[in-house]
């Protein structure tokens, strides 16, 4: 079946540095990708999404890059802050908006920000 996974299970960065979290997916038919942030004891929180017809999308301090050739997704966080410490999940869906069908989640990367 489809596989959405992450290259690094843990990432430790210094406050103020940029963070890059990576994700690989195997379903070439996926057309919509999402990054979620999950803080301890909470449900996943939507960060940013991207459709397959885009290569890059920017939000506030975050950028998602999509490389369909190698089926790779990344999340870049600029000027990482202690509040960014959490587990980050990528997810894929074959229907825009994630409202139809299954969201397939990657394994998660734990981001730790050192003050």
């Amino acid at each position: 079946g489809e596989n959405v996974g992450l290259h690094l299970p843990t990432l430790s960065v210094q406050e103020g540095d940029n963070s890059i979290i990576n994700c690989a997916y195997s379903n070439s038919a996926s057309d919509y990708f999402i990054w979620y942030k999950q803080e301890s004891g909470k449900g996943p929180q939507f960060i940013i999404d991207i459709r397959s017809n885009m290569d890059k999308r920017q939000g506030q301090r975050v950028t998602v890059l999509l490389n369909k050739t190698v089926k790779h997704l990344s999340l870049q966080i600029a000027a990482t802050q202690p509040g960014d410490s959490a587990v980050y999940f990528c997810a894929e869906n074959s229907t825009y908006g994630g409202s139809q069908g299954n969201l397939i989640f990657g394994k998660g990367t734990k981001l730790s920000v050192k003050p």
């Binding site: 999402i34 909470k42 409202s99 139809q100």
Partner: protein, 113 residues
């Protein structure tokens, strides 16, 4: 966005018993989903809760073990039946409107002893 609440937030249950988890959203939504997140793991979809009809279950999940109700567009329940320690997980409800992203509830942390 949507404000989602789940009850209970956590529970400790004995094996062989059942627990019903409630999910309430503050506005009508098209889709409601139930996920399981085992300790230290990612999220796995259990089923899609369909209003007025039987839920749609993913491979590996069955109605007898995880019966689901969705009586209206703002409320759903998930029951974990005949529990065993392997059912210890966080159970998460998510919702979505057509063309919108999924929003997750805070989760219910279940421990089975």
């Amino acid at each position: 966005s949507a404000v989602i609440s789940q009850k209970p937030s956590r529970d400790i249950c004995q094996r062989g018993t059942s627990l019903t988890i409630q999910c309430q959203v503050d506005s009508q939504v098209t889709m409601m989903f139930w996920y399981r997140q085992q300790p230290g793991q990612s999220l796995t979809l259990i089923a899609t809760a369909n209003q007025g009809s039987e839920a749609t279950y993913e491979s590996g999940f069955v109605i007898d073990k995880f019966p689901i109700s969705r009586p209206n567009l703002t409320f759903s329940t998930l029951t974990v039946s005949n529990m065993s320690p392997e059912d210890s997980s966080i159970y998460l409800c998510s919702v979505a409107r057509a063309g919108d992203e999924q929003y997750f509830g805070p989760g219910t942390r279940l421990t089975v002893t």
